[in-house]
């Protein structure tokens, strides 16, 4: 765990840097993928540039939205100290709201620019996989998304366990990073079809969901629902089922046209 790097009086937040690196890498991959797809886009001069802008606007809107929604939750505190809105800290963000706002703004941008839906999703597929890998690295650096205690027979710690938060634990951050890199590798191989049909994006979602179903079992910080079920596993299972079903629908042209009409 290396949450920050001290540079003189400044603490450089390494998890945040890892996420930024993921966005940068993802944007580059998305631009390249958009160039490969090479579909007609009557409303924009270049699909790669439009995809880059879509990610950029979504990111900015997500960060600003996360801060504004956090401030709205604690309105009296921010009304008394409005300059706190500009504080350079990740501790006053509402990530869930930021994610929704970022996706909404990116979708609005795409719609306004008339970006083709499925080719755009396919262009974003490697970006999503790269960002998931960066998220794993960020978790490793911050110590978040940590694993459950990892002991074998005789209460002996497993050889690959890491000592974190006062116990030997599954290195779930490494598991999730490796899984995301595998998903990225598969995505770049484009095993299902030529990009542009929306299938590569669905494949990334399906593989990521499958990885989450499997790896969540090793997490030590799962949100637990009734019956002892891990919330993330149940949600990921539904996402996996939905994405596999959508892929099946996409594979059948007649069914697809019925759905589209």
């Amino acid at each position: 765990m290396f949450p920050f790097l001290r540079l003189g009086p400044f603490l450089l937040q390494l998890p945040g840097l890892a996420l930024l690196a993921g966005v940068w890498l993802g944007s580059s991959l998305a631009e390249k993928e958009a160039a490969r797809i090479n579909v007609e886009t009557p409303h924009v001069a270049s699909l790669p540039a439009a995809i880059y802008n879509l990610i950029f606007y979504g990111l900015i809107a997500g960060i600003v939205g996360a801060r504004l929604t956090y401030a709205a939750r604690y309105l009296s505190a921010y009304l008394a100290n409005p300059l706190s809105l500009f504080a350079l800290t990740p501790n006053t963000l509402w990530p869930g709201a930021g994610l929704v706002i970022g996706i909404a703004v990116a979708a609005l941008y795409g719609r306004r620019k008339g970006l083709p839906f499925r080719p755009t999703l396919d262009a974003l597929a490697p970006a999503l996989a790269a960002f998931m890998a960066a998220l794993g690295v960020a978790h490793f650096l911050s110590g978040d998304a940590f694993g459950a205690p990892a002991y074998g027979p005789g209460s002996v710690a497993l050889p690959w366990a890491i000592y974190l938060w006062d116990d030997y634990r599954h290195p779930t951050q490494i598991y999730e990073t490796l899984a995301a890199l595998a998903v990225l590798f598969i995505t770049l191989k484009r095993p299902l079809a030529q990009p542009g049909e929306g299938l590569n994006f669905l494949l990334v979602v399906a593989l990521s969901a499958a990885a989450r179903v499997f790896l969540e079992a090793f997490r030590g910080d799962s949100v637990i629902w009734a019956g002892g079920f891990r919330a993330a596993q149940v949600i990921a299972l539904f996402v996996l089922a939905a994405s596999l079903w959508l892929m099946r629908v996409r594979a059948q042209p007649t069914t697809l046209s019925a759905v589209e009409t």
Binding site: L11, Y74, A80, W165, P191, V213, E216
Partner: protein, 190 residues
């Protein structure tokens, strides 16, 4: 192989059934046993969701404080040193929030990392900022070590059950940040 499966609807349906079936089975098998979710307080460790590691320290000006004896109150543990610029910058905001919320059950422990500071400097610092909350002295560094201190200032927001709910590494914290973290915890039932 995937593309071969994908081109054949029947094969794809079989794959879906197998994958989802295995997923369901794995989800069921990896449920968390009820005994581990209702087993009382989480183990101590300096991170969110864990019990705050206990400590007993001498106070600047005399007396002692034990963290576990403050159970039932919202506790903000701020580790600082007099030579640390962000510590200096955030201290007025901490004092202000402490004064406005102490009657609601907020306790601030401004733990001076005395092993890398001096008691005289700490005392001058406290007078300079007019701090009214207790200042425990970590003379040996044992408490900082237990809290895995990696940078100054570092602040832990601890709920009434003694569980760490938020950790802020670095600073200075804004008054709005401190207030938002503290108000969330104070709203919880005693």
């Amino acid at each position: 192989m995937i593309s071969h499966l994908y081109k054949d609807t029947r094969s794809w349906n079989t794959l879906m059934a197998v994958v989802l079936g295995l997923g369901l089975l794995w989800t069921f098998l990896s449920r968390v046993p009820p005994a581990t979710t209702t087993g009382g307080a989480p183990p101590p460790s300096p991170r969110e969701g864990f019990s705050a590691p206990d400590f007993t320290l001498d106070l600047l000006g005399g007396g002692q404080v034990t963290l576990s004896q403050l159970r039932g109150k919202v506790v903000m543990v701020n580790l600082w040193a007099s030579w640390c610029p962000p510590c200096r910058a955030e201290m007025p905001a901490i004092e202000k929030v402490y004064r406005t919320h102490k009657d609601l059950g907020l306790v601030v422990l401004g733990v001076n990392t005395t092993f890398q500071d001096t008691e005289a400097e700490a005392a001058t610092f406290v007078r300079e900022f007019g701090l009214t909350f207790p200042i425990p002295l970590d003379r040996t560094g044992a408490t900082s070590n237990r809290y895995q201190l990696r940078g100054l200032p570092t602040t832990f927001f601890i709920d009434r059950q003694g569980v760490i709910r938020s950790v802020v590494i670095g600073g200075p914290m804004s008054e709005a940040l401190i207030q938002s973290k503290v108000e969330d915890l104070l709203q919880q039932a005693p």
